[in-house]
């Protein structure tokens, strides 16, 4: 049984974990960098201490974190996401220090976090994978053999990490040697691991993922999918569930296969299997697994009524198989649509450049069907040291339309100044036909941006892109103190039509 939980993270996820831990009656502690002493999760902690040192590095310092957790008397560490969450050495060191690591075993982090190994495990469990070669490649000749076999275009990917780094699309054999070298260099710099591999490039794809939960003893369940195709440079902006692209049969099949893959490795805790779905098809291919809680996990919580952090704590604290939710035949799953938007401190008007500084005004939305996970509060500062996610704004509805309408209004109500955020941009994006219809893919955001640029060049804005333009104007004006009342975004919103 876990009784004293140490949170090895900051920001919204630290607050989210602290809330569950407090509700479960645990003693909660955390350690903060010199830049983070005002963060709201500390108010929910019983005990805390400072991590002395460079604020940009202290949360990655496994030794300092474990030392702090020990001093504060913790018996378990929750790593959140990012930082040390998928670091097998950290997971092992936590266990060696006599504490529980809330997540999978170090061996599972290695086996599933590495994309080459994960492809092998998926293949063994009968899960379809993207056509390609499940081994790291080193020289151009080997790469050419593989690429010729699977056919161009191909994608070179880093084995050791994601986020678009070490990734190259190659259209022809002529581009291959150069692209390979650059991908290897980039992967080496980003992940300290230059290994890359090649798979078929799906030009127009959707990104759908399955939340799984395993008991660590060979039982695992799927908790449904999340559609994450609204991305900008591989960064997710909006996530929703159920996916508007999948039939319920396809979603169920994908979930069952993901659960069987998790079960086959005796996966412990919460994890996410990512799939790509070629646009307009019901085909799906496993790409990788994230062995941690994801940023967008609240989408699943809203659709299932579960508290995933509670499930993680329950599973990590037990030496026996814990009953998994929805594992009994006929378990009731909520019939709800949930959607999340990431409010990030970025200037959407200046190519999404990070926007730092003191938050003078922070007004977050609420209302029927709204959930907000946020650390942003007036008086605090967005520092350049960390990920710039300020808030996750989520909405649920009995229908997708209702959920989107609620989220659009909630994003309008989100007033943050003078730091610039993605809120107005995302509110406008929700109104785009391509999003509203559900027929979007991972290239949608880039295409909308391109079509806006073309239209501006021709000096004629079409009504759709005018919405984006209006939103960008709003964000340029700093959104300060008043609800924006631009005519274009309002005209299209569902909550006014209904």
């Amino acid at each position: 049984m876990i009784q004293k939980l140490f949170i090895a993270n900051r920001g919204e996820i630290a607050l989210r974990i602290a809330r569950t831990a407090r509700r479960l009656g645990l003693t909660v502690s955390s350690a903060f960098s010199s830049a983070d002493c005002g963060l709201p999760h500390l108010r929910l902690c019983h005990r805390a201490m400072e991590l002395v040192g460079d604020p940009a590095r202290v949360y990655l310092d496994s030794g300092k974190i474990i030392d702090a957790a020990r001093k504060l008397g913790a018996d378990a560490i929750h790593p959140g996401y990012g930082f040390l969450a998928e670091n097998e050495d950290f997971a092992a060191a936590v266990q060696d220090a006599g504490m529980a690591f809330i997540g999978p075993t170090p061996e599972q982090i290695v086996a599933l976090g590495d994309k080459v190994q994960a492809r092998k495990a998926a293949l063994a469990a009968g899960v379809p994978i993207v056509p390609g070669e499940s081994k790291a490649i080193s020289d151009a000749a080997a790469a050419k053999t593989i690429a010729d076999r699977i056919g161009y275009p191909v994608l070179i990917k880093a084995a050791g990490g994601g986020g678009g780094r070490g990734m190259r699309v190659v259209d022809s054999a002529a581009q291959l040697p150069d692209a390979l070298l650059r991908a290897q260099t980039e992967a080496g710099a980003a992940f300290n691991d230059p290994r890359v591999f090649i798979e078929k490039y799906v030009a127009r794809a959707r990104h759908v993922e399955i939340q799984v939960l395993g008991d660590g003893f060979g039982n695992a369940v799927s908790l449904g999918e999340r559609e994450c195709s609204v991305q900008r440079r591989h960064q997710k902006l909006i996530e929703e569930s159920p996916s508007p692209a999948l039939t319920r049969e396809t979603a169920a099949k994908m979930g069952a296969l993901a659960a069987s893959l998790a079960a086959s490795v005796k996966y412990r805790g919460a994890g996410t299997m990512e799939f790509i779905v070629p646009f307009g098809t019901q085909d799906f291919f496993f790409i990788e697994m994230n062995t941690r809680l994801q940023v967008e996990h609240p989408v699943t919580e809203l659709c299932t009524g579960l508290d995933l952090v509670e499930e993680q704590i329950r599973i990590a604290g037990s030496s026996e198989p814990q009953p998994l939710p929805f594992s009994k035949p006929g378990s009731k799953v909520l019939d709800i649509h949930a959607i999340e938007a990431r409010v990030i401190a970025e200037d959407t008007d200046a190519d999404f450049r990070p926007s730092c500084g003191k938050l003078d005004l922070v007004m977050l939305p609420s209302g029927p069907g709204i959930r907000v996970d946020a650390w942003a509060e007036a008086g605090l500062s967005v520092t350049p040291y960390y990920d710039s996610l300020l808030a996750k704004v989520l909405a649920t509805g009995q229908t997708r339309e209702q959920a989107i309408g609620r989220l659009a209004l909630a994003l309008d109500e989100t007033l943050i100044s003078p730091v610039r955020t993605t809120a107005p941009y995302l509110a406008a994006l929700l109104m785009q036909d391509e999003f509203r219809s559900g027929a979007y893919d991972t290239g949608t955001v880039a295409r909308l941006k391109q079509s806006k640029a073309n239209n501006e060049k021709e000096a004629g804005l079409d009504p759709g892109t005018a919405v984006i333009a209006a939103a960008e104007k709003m964000s340029r004006n700093g959104h300060s103190g008043m609800l924006p009342r631009g005519p274009a975004p309002r005209r299209l919103s569902s909550w006014q039509q209904s």
């Binding site: 407090r22 502690s29 500390l42 008086g379």
Partner: protein, 176 residues
């Protein structure tokens, strides 16, 4: 080193006195307890106060309540209590707390109450001793001395005589 008393008002409205001593280095000792370092993690103009007492987090909302002193709603260790600080104990505590962790850094001296600056007794680059009067602030027809909680050098004087200031307004910055 100075002694202060906190009056702890429990749920049943019974008041319990809590004696504590502030050390010059900012450590705070409860009566019959060893002194521990204490640090203000956050204090906002709206009354929010988060304090790290040793390694224990204490949250408070500071509400100005006139003649009976400042009322704090305190939660520590998962419990929420109302806490009343007599006299100017809260200012002394806060300034001492800040000073303890500001040694070698800068220390902001803020107005504890809304008022009118009657006199500014120091200027930029002056060396000041602990307990030296920096500013005289008139509030409720009383003259209140704002003192340096720590020795240091004046970095900035943010107000002028005759100026009205709000509670929490920056008065002076000291290099400690």
């Amino acid at each position: 080193m100075s002694s202060h008393s906190l009056v702890l008002r429990a749920q049943d409205d019974a008041e319990k006195s809590l004696q504590f001593t502030l050390h010059d280095d900012g450590r705070v000792a409860l009566k019959d307890q060893p002194a521990v370092p204490i640090r203000v993690l956050r204090r906002d103009g709206n009354g929010l106060l988060t304090v790290l007492w040793g390694d224990t987090i204490i949250n408070a909302i500071v509400v100005s309540s006139g003649e009976r002193g400042e009322l704090l709603q305190i939660s520590a260790g998962g419990r929420t209590e109302a806490l009343r600080l007599r006299d100017a104990a809260i200012d002394a505590m806060e300034q001492a707390l800040a000073a303890a962790h500001q040694t070698g850094g800068t220390l902001d001296i803020r107005s504890p109450i809304p008022g009118l600056v009657k006199a500014v007794l120091v200027k930029t680059d002056d060396a000041v001793a602990a307990q030296q009067t920096l500013i005289v602030l008139e509030a409720m027809k009383m003259e209140n001395e704002i003192i340096a909680p720590h020795a240091g050098t004046i970095l900035t004087v943010a107000v002028k005589p005759g100026q009205a200031v709000a509670a929490g307004a920056l008065l002076i910055k000291i290099q400690t």
